[in-house]
């Protein structure tokens, strides 16, 4: 009667809400794709992907994206040098060593670290970390990759540590007990038995962290600079893919121009890279779950 | 000619590919208490849940054969499951009162089925149901307190009151006292005895003594089959099947 009609209407409405998420994904792909295709109709894809000079906003225009890519990679690599060992260390400590009281007290602090807005981290990188580093490295420029890289690492550390901790926690206790029964110390058990057993889970965490680092915007927009430069030197100003998009958006670039389209082309590259990394990370995590659950 | 309230014929039930019930045939009479007994996993709860189609909630299940209540096949495509569950109520093994007040628990069934005519009628029916479940005296002064503040036995009687409020024909009880202490159990058993005048009661129990005390008819289940079905007196004193005899004398299970 009217009751079952109402039920079906409600079910339809709920379904549409869920299906909206598909429209969002389609929207992202559509927006990025149309502008990227328009961009690539003027700039050959080889020049875009492999060119080494990026000056779309200058009079003498070049559209080689590699400087942005290396900028992103350098900052992310520095971030991972902080987040990966640090996060893993903290995870092993919390999972294998710490007493429950210590865990309960310190874990919320890690969550706070993860919840600080990135613009605050950017401020910290520019006005505290870089000047601090300059006291030890006099050649360090005011805008560079090192300061924001380290701060980004601190921001991502909780992600690495919490996912790694989950992975370590899923390793069955039987493995640890077997090692202890053979007379291994906790250190030997952790490093030689538990960590290798949790390897795919930890790798999944690391890859997710890289994806997060690549997509991070405000820390680098504030502290890394706006000079696209094909270099591995962390002490000089560079520009990342994300910072470039912000730079153009802050300006007056009119819609429909080639310069406007560059942000979508760069955005497409960013989207594909993070998407691939996320897929890989998920695949690793599924494989890990199959081993132990 | 004895009346038949529930008639099951050739019932097979499948969880996915696994067959849980084999060719069940039984005719349950009105206004009596029928008990299903048998060891764990023998299918008695599964069969109970087919009687009000609660198994429909589990994905990938299938029923073959027919189950008729008052002559009508309850698995026919045209059947309104919601209306069926109004007529066939259920009390669960672990009492599951809603996290609301005592009154709201009993009134819920009345509200969603739009039974009561106005607030006075609603209160009257709530009171009636709580009395029928022998709970009224204990809660009449605290009707608006949370249901979860009651003891285990009281919560189960509340669930019974909740089920009775919508005036079903049949009340199914899935091990209603298994989570309760002996005194609370006794009160539930007394309640069941009082209720059979007005309702048809089917109770699943793993406690043979309880079945012997409380029921008029008993069906013995074993590995998904119904081995024997007869008056309780006969099942427990002179069963026809050896398997039944072994079970009720405690030789296994």
């Amino acid at each position: 009667m009217t009751r079952s009609f109402l039920e079906r209407v409600i079910e339809r409405a709920l379904f549409l809400s869920a299906a909206l998420s598909i429209i969002v994904t389609a929207g992202i792909i559509a927006v990025l794709l149309t502008e990227t295709v328009a961009f690539l109709s003027e700039i050959p894809i080889m020049e875009f992907l492999f060119g080494t000079v990026w000056t779309p906003l200058f009079a003498d225009q070049h559209f080689g994206v590699l400087p942005l890519v290396t900028g992103t990679i350098v900052v992310s690599a520095i971030a991972m040098c902080v987040a990966l060992p640090g996060g893993l260390l903290v995870a092993i400590y919390l999972a294998e060593y710490a007493r429950p009281g210590v865990r309960r007290a310190l874990k919320p602090i890690l969550e706070i670290l993860a919840g600080v807005p990135t613009v605050v981290y950017g401020y910290f990188a520019l006005l505290f970390v870089t000047p601090l580093l300059q006291r030890f490295i006099p050649d360090l420029a005011g805008f560079n990759a090192l300061g924001p890289g380290i701060v980004m690492g601190i921001m991502i550390l909780p992600l690495v540590s919490s996912l790694s901790e989950d992975a370590l926690g899923s390793v069955p206790n039987g493995l640890r007990e077997g090692a202890f029964a053979l007379g291994a110390t906790r250190l030997q058990t952790s490093l030689l038995v538990v960590v290798p057993a949790a390897f795919s889970g930890i790798s999944a965490a690391a890859i997710l962290a890289v994806s997060r680092a690549i997509g991070e915007t405000m820390i680098v927009a504030i502290a890394a600079g706006q000079q696209p430069r094909l270099t591995a030197n962390p002490l000089v100003p560079i520009e990342t893919m994300t910072a470039y998009i912000v730079q153009v958006s802050m300006g007056d670039t009119p819609a429909g121009t080639l310069e406007y389209r560059t942000i979508f082309a760069v955005g497409m590259l960013l989207f594909l890279a993070t998407f691939a990394l996320n897929l890989f990370s998920n695949w690793l995590r599924e494989r890990f779950r199959e081993e132990y659950v | 000619m004895t009346e038949v309230k529930i008639a099951a014929d050739g019932v097979n039930f499948y969880y996915g590919a696994k067959r849980a019930l084999h060719d069940i045939r039984v005719a349950i009479r009105p206004h009596v208490v029928t008990a299903f007994i048998g060891p764990s996993g023998c299918g008695k709860s599964t069969f109970l849940r087919t009687l009000n189609r609660m198994n429909d909630l589990i994905p990938d299940t299938r029923l073959e054969g027919s189950i008729r209540i008052d002559g009508q096949d309850i698995y026919a495509p045209s059947v309104d499951v919601v209306a069926l569950r109004r007529r066939v109520g259920m009390v669960f093994q672990k009492s599951n009162p809603f996290p609301k007040s005592i009154v709201e628990n009993v009134a819920y069934g009345l509200k969603i089925n739009r039974i009561a005519n106005g607030r006075a009628d609603l209160s009257h029916r709530v009171e009636e149901s709580l009395k029928a479940a022998a709970l009224w005296d204990e809660v009449k002064d605290r009707l608006h307190e949370p249901a979860l503040s009651l003891s285990g036995g009281q919560q189960q009687r509340l669930c019974i009151a909740r089920a009775l409020a919508i005036k079903p024909d049949i009340v199914l009880m899935d091990e209603p006292a298994s989570a309760l202490d002996p005194i609370a159990t006794q009160r539930i058993e007394e309640l069941i005895y009082q209720l059979k005048d007005k309702y048809t009661i089917v109770i699943v129990t793993h406690n043979m003594q309880q079945a012997a005390r409380v029921s008029d008819f008993t069906a013995f289940f074993w590995l998904g089959r119904m081995v024997e079905y007869d008056e309780t007196r006969k099942i427990f004193t002179a069963p026809a099947e050896k398997l039944t005899e072994d079970y009720v004398t405690g030789r296994f299970g």
């Binding site: 601190i154 997509g215 998009i245 | 069926l84």
Partner: protein, 281 residues
């Protein structure tokens, strides 16, 4: 003996690592508070941006943040809760349900700047909403939608099956059960998730920059279609200025932002605790 020494050393190292992370957080907070606290004043909170650092204020930014977040919540919460209800209670079995689930998990990992590009292409241009509060809120709503959905699903999943069974056994329909039993029981979890999603939205900068929130807004947004700014963007703008005095403004703005976040998260924790206590009675 040497083995146990290594063992103890490692434990110490782990603790040091943890404390180093804490020290970094403490340094950050201390730095911001020391730089910014002197600048906090009623004047600061109620003035407009200015070329002169000393007279600049964050009133439009605070109000802009408020409007955008409320609008984001209005858009994201009903849709997100509805989607989660569908996935948990109605649709998980079908292949389409699985596809939607995977899709939402993927969306949760997309960088926020890409959502900004989506907002620019879709809301600002294609739907011609312009660089408005509505476009910004819609963009953020899409960004936090996966968070709302995932948190709501967790809350729904925590509702015991026995509650639903009890409702169905009384002859309730699926929607009646969801509406009268499941959603009320899941409400604290949903509220907590919503607050967490919104506190994430408050700190988002990049998507709103791309959608066109400018940082030199000398007026308070007066309609859904007006230009606007938000607190993180104002902070970003001040940090980027080399003139003396703006760094302090940025730090003061950060303090205001952090206070907002603390209040929101505190509210979330309070709600969760209060409802948990009421349930157990």
């Amino acid at each position: 003996m040497r083995r146990y020494l290594a063992d103890r050393a490692f434990a110490a190292l782990g603790l040091v690592g943890l404390l180093a992370a804490l020290a970094a957080l403490a340094a950050l907070l201390l730095d911001v508070i020391l730089d910014g606290a002197p600048r906090l004043s009623w004047q600061f909170l109620t003035s407009y941006p200015s070329r002169f650092a000393a007279s600049a204020g964050i009133l439009p930014a605070i109000l802009g943040t408020f409007y955008v977040i409320v609008l984001t919540g209005v858009m994201a919460v009903p849709v997100g809760v509805a989607a989660a209800v569908y996935l948990e209670e109605y649709g998980a079995q079908g292949r389409l349900g699985r596809v939607i689930e995977i899709n939402i998990a993927n969306l949760a990992g997309v960088p926020s700047i890409v959502y900004g590009l989506l907002g620019l292409g879709l809301f600002v241009r294609a739907l011609a909403l312009g660089r408005s509060v509505v476009a910004g809120a819609a963009t953020l709503a899409l960004l936090v939608l996966p968070v709302v959905i995932l948190a709501t699903r967790e809350a729904l999943r925590a509702v015991p099956k026995s509650l639903r069974e009890g409702s169905y056994a009384l002859g309730a329909t699926q929607w009646q059960t969801t509406q009268h039993q499941v959603l009320p029981a899941a409400l604290p979890g949903i509220l907590t998730g919503v607050i967490l999603a919104l506190s994430r939205a408050i700190g988002e900068t990049a998507p709103l920059i791309i959608v066109g929130a400018v940082a030199y807004v000398r007026f308070v947004p007066d309609s859904l279609w007006s230009p606007f700014t938000v607190l993180p963007i104002q902070i970003f703008n001040w940090v980027s200025r080399p003139q003396a005095g703006f760094a302090e403004n940025a730090a003061a703005g950060i303090i205001v932002l952090l206070v907002m976040l603390v209040l929101m998260n505190g509210a979330a924790i309070l709600i969760r605790d209060r409802f948990q206590r009421r349930r157990i009675a």
